[in-house]
Symmetry: C2
Subunit: 325 residues, 2 copies
């Protein structure tokens, strides 16, 4: 087994990203045999270290290949022209968080990193910086159109057929061909990272999963046939199950993953079960990307009170999924 | 305070309805100062009592008015022509459970009963009996078109803007006029039963509640304006909130109720939080109707192992909401 190389982008300098990354890396229980490369603005990192009183040392990292020895490395993307603004969105912060993320994605895409962990960016900062992408997911989508958004926690795993589009458009994606492609790509990704998932439980779209067509046609016309065809092709997938009970079927069964037909069908259930410990995991790319289940939290930035648990979970999952690949 | 008169319909004789009603009524912690009237087939009731070895005695009830003294009463709707079938749907069972329910609704509609608690019926049995309604809710809808489906538990309360219709049709109901009428009717009902709910938290329809129109138009065009108008009219309502976090905002805050835009938007969250203890509560009628959060459970019928907790919660809530009216 090779030692995993994990890239970490610091997120918005005005938010809690730098703080939770530092706190998480300083946690002794984190696997030591890892090559961690943090991407960000060195001044922000040093200021945060001083503020938190954490002595975590990093070696400088440059170039396009990963360091060969385990340990902590810092890849300085250079300071933005102005000073970092704390607790609020700003164009300078947006530029800084984007450059760090972009560099890390570049190295991961080249195979230098096994996985990427992203601290939260601010959509407003990106917008103020004039960036055309709304966030991490949209940028990754533009590079890897088949990227799949999944959510992982101890108790529940969920994959989303669609994410940041209006619900009416999401309904338009509930088609046999789209679903079959999705099942195939998801299954392939899960197998590649040896996820341990052995069954995809597919949610229906309508109340009671359509009740034999009485409460909606998508289950009998699209979802059901896509499942049948996938099973014929050897993909372990079942359903469609009533949307309001499929999560209970998967709860506390680590080898099951729910396939949700829309962003909120999946995330209402997931956030209730796994708030503060959930990990957002992007599959269907040449590398795995994980991120904590929270935002920049500008209101508590710089106060030293941010909870690093979700970042820690994101790091652990990235390591686990890299180690097994 | 008058002594509440609570009607209870036995549900499908082939399911666990009679068992959970008997077990719940035999629970000593249930408020004693209540007039309970059970509606069903006397032979089914006696057979279930004998099978469970419970000695609960009931006095016979007839006619159109409630008994005046507290205690347990049985309103015999007469035996169906054949013997009750156990553990499976049948037309005779459907007829029996419908007649019991219909009689109880009739008396409640006349004001003789303060609330109605319904044990589960089988949709298949109703269908085999040639009934045109798919279940309790559809029958009540036909009598009281403004009936509102809500779900209550210790930790979470949810109201559904629409219920047993395809999701595409449900989206068509997300209109300012429909929403405003709904907020008004729900607020009026909650006030009438002194529910203690002091704020309605309204879910958006799209990811991130549409993110200022970027991810969907319904929040800015319909839901937002309906909320503003409702607030102007003195109704305590707020939102629209992102669908995947509105449940966390209401969790463990008994004075908050989530308004969900569709059946599963509401029930995915509710069932994860309150499985086996949730109570389905119909408002917007001249009387309150509650029912347990489970079905006939034909697979365990007649085995004496059915869990009466949800029925007990349904009875307790019916009593509480009646006592305060």
């Amino acid at each position: 087994m090779t030692i995993p190389a994990i890239g970490i982008s610091l997120g918005d300098p005005g938010g809690i990203g730098p703080e939770v990354v530092l706190k998480a890396l300083a946690t002794p229980s984190l696997l030591p045999e890892t090559r961690f490369v943090v991407f960000g603005d060195r001044r922000v990192w040093d200021a945060e270290r001083a503020a938190l009183g954490l002595s975590l040392e990093t070696r400088p990292h440059e170039g396009e290949s990963a360091p060969s020895a385990p340990g902590f490395y810092f890849h300085d993307i250079g300071a933005a022209s102005g000073a970092a603004v704390r607790g609020a969105a700003s164009g300078e912060n947006g530029k800084s968080s984007f450059l760090a993320f972009k560099k890390a994605v570049e190295l991961a895409g080249k195979g230098a990193l096994d996985a990427l962990v992203t601290a939260p960016i601010s959509k407003t900062s990106w917008h103020l910086a004039g960036l055309p992408w709304r966030g991490h997911t949209e940028y990754l989508d533009s590079l890897y159109p088949g990227a799949i958004m999944t959510f992982w926690s101890e108790r529940l795993k969920v994959a989303l057929l669609s994410h940041h589009i209006p619900l009416k458009e999401a309904l338009g994606r509930v088609r046999k061909d789209v679903l079959l492609d999705f099942f195939r790509a998801l299954h392939r990704s899960l197998a590649a990272i040896r996820s341990g998932v052995d069954e995809l439980l597919v949610a229906g779209l309508n109340p009671h999963a359509g009740e034999d067509g009485l409460l909606g046609a998508e289950e009998t016309a699209e979802i059901g046939p896509a499942i049948e065809e996938a099973v014929r092709q050897g993909i372990p997938v079942s359903g469609p199950y009533p949307p309001d009970t499929v999560f209970l079927k998967a709860l506390d069964r680590p080898a099951k993953m729910v396939v949700a037909m829309s962003h909120d069908q999946g995330l209402i259930g997931f956030k209730l079960v796994a708030f503060a410990t959930g990990v957002n995991t992007t599959l269907g790319m040449p590398f795995v990307r994980t991120s904590p289940d929270h935002g920049t939290a500008f209101d508590i930035a710089g106060k030293g009170v941010a909870d690093p648990r979700s970042m820690l979970e994101a790091l652990r999952l990235a390591i686990r999924l890299s180690a097994s690949s």
